[in-house]
Assembly symmetry: C2
Homo-oligomer: 150 residues x 2
């Protein structure tokens, strides 16, 4: 089948023939109310994938780290992100760069969904979740401890 060169937005933040996916394949309590749409997959010689994630009000992504980097642009709503030991306030078109092996977590506000584009390289390692010792170390910083959800 010839690949389509134009993918219309059919309603806000949904696209023609782009499936709405679960954020992660496994179930778990380490994330809450997140969906994923792969806007451009890695099969197209772009070297990278562009995904759209949406976190419902009150939800959060997994607290994790990995060797590959994330390049993020917020396109819907507001929220906050932990990157390393820093907590960033995010609004429309904020950019976030997640360096290699850096703990990170995104949270929507309680009132609004947080939607963002996330660019990753095609070939990438699996995310790691914190061990008990790493969690204790993260929680040693009070503001980080108050932010994270696991």
């Amino acid at each position: 089948m010839k690949r389509k060169t134009h993918i219309r937005q059919t309603e806000p933040f949904r696209w023609e023939n782009v499936p709405l996916l679960a954020y992660k394949e496994e179930d778990g309590t380490h994330f809450k109310s997140v969906t994923r749409q792969v806007l451009f997959g890695g099969g197209e010689q772009a070297g990278a994938e562009l995904r759209y994630f949406e976190i419902a009000p009150g939800g959060h992504s997994t607290l994790e780290r990995h060797g590959h980097v994330h390049c993020v642009m917020v396109v819907r709503g507001r929220g906050r992100a932990l990157v390393g030991r820093e907590i960033h306030e995010l609004g429309q078109h904020s950019l976030v760069y997640i360096p290699p092996l850096t703990w990170h977590q995104f949270r929507a506000t309680d009132e609004e969904a947080l939607g963002f584009l996330c660019l990753v390289r095609r070939d990438r390692d699996r995310p790691q979740r914190p061990t008990a010792g790493e969690l204790a170390s993260l929680r040693a910083d009070a503001s980080v401890g108050a932010f994270i959800r696991v």
Copy 2:
């Protein structure tokens, strides 16, 4: 210097410490009223770059093709794109995929700027512009001929 993990939007479609660049280094009549901002460069292990282009009302990008693909999301305004022999109407969050060696050109409307994200692989070939013979072939299709600006 430690790389910043959060780049705020300082005003609509401008970001902290992200320079506003000329669309192309050379001058020319083959494009009109286009700017470029590199949001995430290729030096960060992402395998790809994410750039933001903005075409002023009435402006257009270069009619060109190249071996690397473009993955595009519109984030501002409206416009149209030629991809191969197809002309697509573009609005907020439209996605456009430019396959390898496919002629393409973006145009803003006369009333509104057209702003879009464009993902490209880090290592990529230089764009080609059409020869006189290729232009004649493109113009053999009346709707393409009416669209293109060279």
